[in-house]
Symmetry: C2
Subunit: 250 residues, 2 copies
């Protein structure tokens, strides 16, 4: 099989509706996966509804490997996961999607070939299919309401593949523009304190010291960029200008 | 607003299709979230298509808080995330869904009230809405193909909320049945070694020691349960019984 092996193959087992095959292709490609295999699609192949739904991810359908059986679909793989809501009585390791995709990434780095099986829409996978898998992937859903469909299951697994393998962009804070320095913050606080003093804001006098501290503290809690600081200076300057035009200027 | 506050409210901003509102409700409830707010749904409210799609999660629609504006929808919240594909020029922290939901869980534990905004289907959120958020959630998608829809965005965020807050079931291995002990594994290895010796398997003689080591090593690499071991004993016993019936018994 000519598909490259730096990522897991996603195998749709006997999928029913073309729309769901197309949705699975989109979900995969959203997270950079493009190795699709399909066993015995109910409505034959190619499927126009699948193509229509896949839109931008149609290439995955063109390149999908069609198989008669689950055994054929995973014949070249060394480790196979089956996604299923309820682990049956079969004795197998059960992973969350996050853990499974980390495990898969490591196996692929070690030269293994990986497949992930997804069962048909209504009936789910048969024990026969699950028996071909080395491990089970079970999404930790609300026990009172487990209603993930095929596309959603593919989406969550593909999402975790990307999380396991791509350095996710700054999980913390990415800002446009530079943070203001302490000196710039100090100048801003002083500017406001001075003008508000001119304006008679710190009144009555015995409360002025604590009012000034509170105002300075307010600025210090703000994560301001240099541009923010410039804007706040401008706000104050404009108020002063407006004031200087006198009470008749509206 | 009477919604309880141990989880974030998910706010759908000007959603268009009822189906998508229903799908969002299902996605939320799959991961135990049930605080929905909706601003200005295009097709009015209640919406029969939303109800039909929500099926088992219809309660979320019944209890959803309807608002005129984004400002109204987040009025009681202390920290607001906006989900958007492309962070605009607005200066804001940008989180992955995973990081944002961990952050949200911590804020809620500290008594904060949290909302997550989801924009309308096609157009996405306006800068006006985004400006009301304290931080942005951006799903780390394939830069060549970013096509997540409203329901998928809600699904991934709700999934990460559950991952951040619920002890996910054994991320490693949960087995039905007990692992075999070393003594049981040893007995199995000996059983096979003895019978295969009887059968003349370890031949030629100078290779027998390494063949025996290889066979024992094979067993030791297998993660076998006590039931597996019993079955493997049974397999061997049956082969011996079959052999003892003589060559004419098929």
């Amino acid at each position: 099989m000519p598909q490259e092996t730096s990522q897991p193959a996603f195998v749709l087992i006997r999928p029913q509706m073309g729309e769901n095959i197309g949705a699975a292709a989109r979900a995969m490609w959203n997270f950079g996966l493009d190795r699709m295999r399909i066993t015995a699609p109910r409505d034959g192949w190619p499927n126009q509804k699948a193509v229509a739904m896949a839109s931008g991810a149609g290439r995955l359908l063109d390149e999908a490997i069609m198989c008669e059986t689950t055994a054929e679909a995973v014949a070249d793989c060394t480790y196979v996961y089956a996604t299923t809501a309820r682990p049956r009585e079969l004795t197998k390791p059960v992973f969350t999607p996050a853990h499974a995709m980390k495990d898969a990434a490591q196996r692929i780095a070690n030269g293994e070939k990986i497949a992930v099986l997804f069962g048909p829409e209504r009936s789910g996978m048969e024990n026969d299919d699950i028996a071909k898998a080395n491990a089970i992937i079970s999404v930790p859903v609300n026990p009172d309401f487990a209603s993930l469909n095929l596309g959603q299951c593919v989406l969550l697994t593909a999402y975790e593949w990307r999380q396991a393998t791509v350095e996710t962009t700054p999980a913390t804070v990415s800002m446009e523009g530079e943070w203001a320095s302490q000196a710039e913050m100090e100048a801003l606080a002083t500017h406001y304190e001075d003008r508000m003093t001119d304006a008679g804001f710190f009144y009555p006098e015995h409360k002025a010291p604590s009012m000034k501290i509170n105002l300075r503290n307010l600025w210090s809690r703000m994560p301001l960029t240099r541009a923010d600081v410039q804007m706040l200076h401008g706000v104050m300057r404009q108020m002063v200008r407006w004031k200087e035009r006198g009470p008749d200027d509206r």
